[in-house]
């Protein structure tokens, strides 16, 4: 047994000593592999497809319904198509965004555990740092594309199905269509920062749990928990440190006196969560002892 191990080590050393084998692939090449792998996943394709076709269906169903006035902008869905886009944004932040962020990111590391392929990809002579960067970047790019698809589909559905009527603002004012369109697009754009925070959280949990199911569901559960906490009174500063708070920052764009303080705070909070999660994830992956299949 000892002899066999020694022999194997020796032969590896000899192999790695060869000139061709020590040349590492560029991180861009690793990124291309990872993007190809995600693009081949059925779940990723269905997710993007869902982001495109679900919003028009929801808006179409809304047109025949009593307005859901318990959610912000719900009471205005028949008044302006922009209100539909904002209602769906308000609804999405309650649970859809964490799920959207985690579906690919939560699986991207743990999937290698699930399939037992860590050894295979690591023996393709890409370093762990390169692999980590490529996988994180793949998840970020995919989530940004998914968010963009959802936002574009929602806004276009609202405008085409309900129309470009002036949007009721949050100070009782009416916002003309020409101003409302960029504001609604900006409101959707404010979801980018917390979305990246959830992506990093899902990446971290994917590395730590080594289980694709846990990697996907844990961020969603944490998102729920943060959402629940944020409805309580008396949290004040702690509430602003929750990732989910950033999803509501768009309210300030629709008041007569616009305020963007919450958007700036949310971006800083999301940057903090992202940096910490990515760092811990990297350290955990680098230190991990990968010996099994």
């Amino acid at each position: 047994m000892t002899h066999a191990a020694t022999t194997s080590t020796t032969s590896t050393t000899t192999g790695a000593g060869g000139v061709a084998l020590t040349r590492r692939p560029a991180t861009l090449t690793v990124l291309r592999w990872e993007l190809t792998k995600v693009a081949a996943q059925a779940r990723a394709r269905y997710l993007l497809l869902g982001c495109l076709i679900v919003p028009p269906l929801i808006v179409a169903v809304f047109t025949g319904q009593q307005p859901p006035s318990d959610t912000i902008y719900g009471r205005h869905i028949h008044a302006s198509g922009f209100a539909d886009a904002l209602l769906i944004l308000a609804f999405a932040h309650q649970w859809l965004f964490p799920l959207l962020a985690a579906l690919v990111a939560g699986d991207i590391f743990a999937g290698e555990d699930g399939h037992g392929t860590w050894k295979t990809i690591l023996t393709r002579s890409a370093g762990r740092g390169q692999l980590y960067a490529a996988k994180a970047l793949t998840a970020v790019l995919f989530n940004l594309v998914a968010l963009l698809a959802l936002a574009a589909s929602t806004i276009v559905s609202g405008v085409l199905i309900v129309g470009r009527q002036p949007l009721p603002g949050l100070s009782g004012q009416l916002i003309p269509a020409g101003t409302a369109l960029p504001l609604v697009a900006a409101a959707w754009a404010t979801a980018i920062a917390p979305m990246l925070g959830f992506t990093a959280l899902a990446l971290l949990l994917s590395v730590l749990t080594r289980n694709p199911t846990a990697g996907v569901t844990a961020p969603v559960v944490l998102g729920f928990a943060m959402q629940l906490l944020s409805t309580l009174g008396g949290l004040d500063l702690a509430r602003r440190l929750l990732l989910t708070t950033g999803f509501e920052a768009w309210h300030g764009l629709f008041t007569a006196q616009r305020f963007t303080g919450p958007i700036v705070q949310a971006a800083a909070v999301a940057a903090g969560w992202t940096a910490v999660c990515l760092l811990i994830g990297y350290l955990a992956l680098r230190r991990r002892d990968i010996t099994g299949g």
């Binding site: 100070s171 009782g172 004040d236 500063l237 440190l241 509501e248 309210h251 008041t255 811990i280």
Partner: protein
Amino acid sequence: MTRIRSHVTAPAAAVLAVAAVFAATAGRGGEDITSARLERAIGPTFANLYVQRSAILGRTVTAAAIDAHAACDRGGPKVPDSGPGANWICMIAFTDDTGQHQEGKFEVTANADATYVAGGPSKLVGPATITDTHGNDVPNPAFEFDGAFDPDS
């Protein structure tokens, strides 16, 4: 053994760190939802919506002429006038579209995210649905409305 321990302690330490930051910041930094912020938001918002309501009914007024002012209280004298809840009451004083001074009790739900929902008395603002000058039934914008305010203002 070391592997097992680091596999458990690292996430546990992370969870504890998050909990510690959360506990250290909870309740600090001042209350987001206050009566002053609600009052500053609700008065002008109601005036704007009352103008829209009057326009639907074919009467022309301006928000400045309505001159609405709100005084908000949460849950009676024993409860501090801050924090989210469905037990806010705002008394709104304004001049109606016939020039009469009016004052009405609005039931307000203030949410932790610095938005609110306010509902007015039908006696002052009319029913949920009103009939416009063309004879169509349309929603009354002043009957129940959403609004938002700056938690840092």
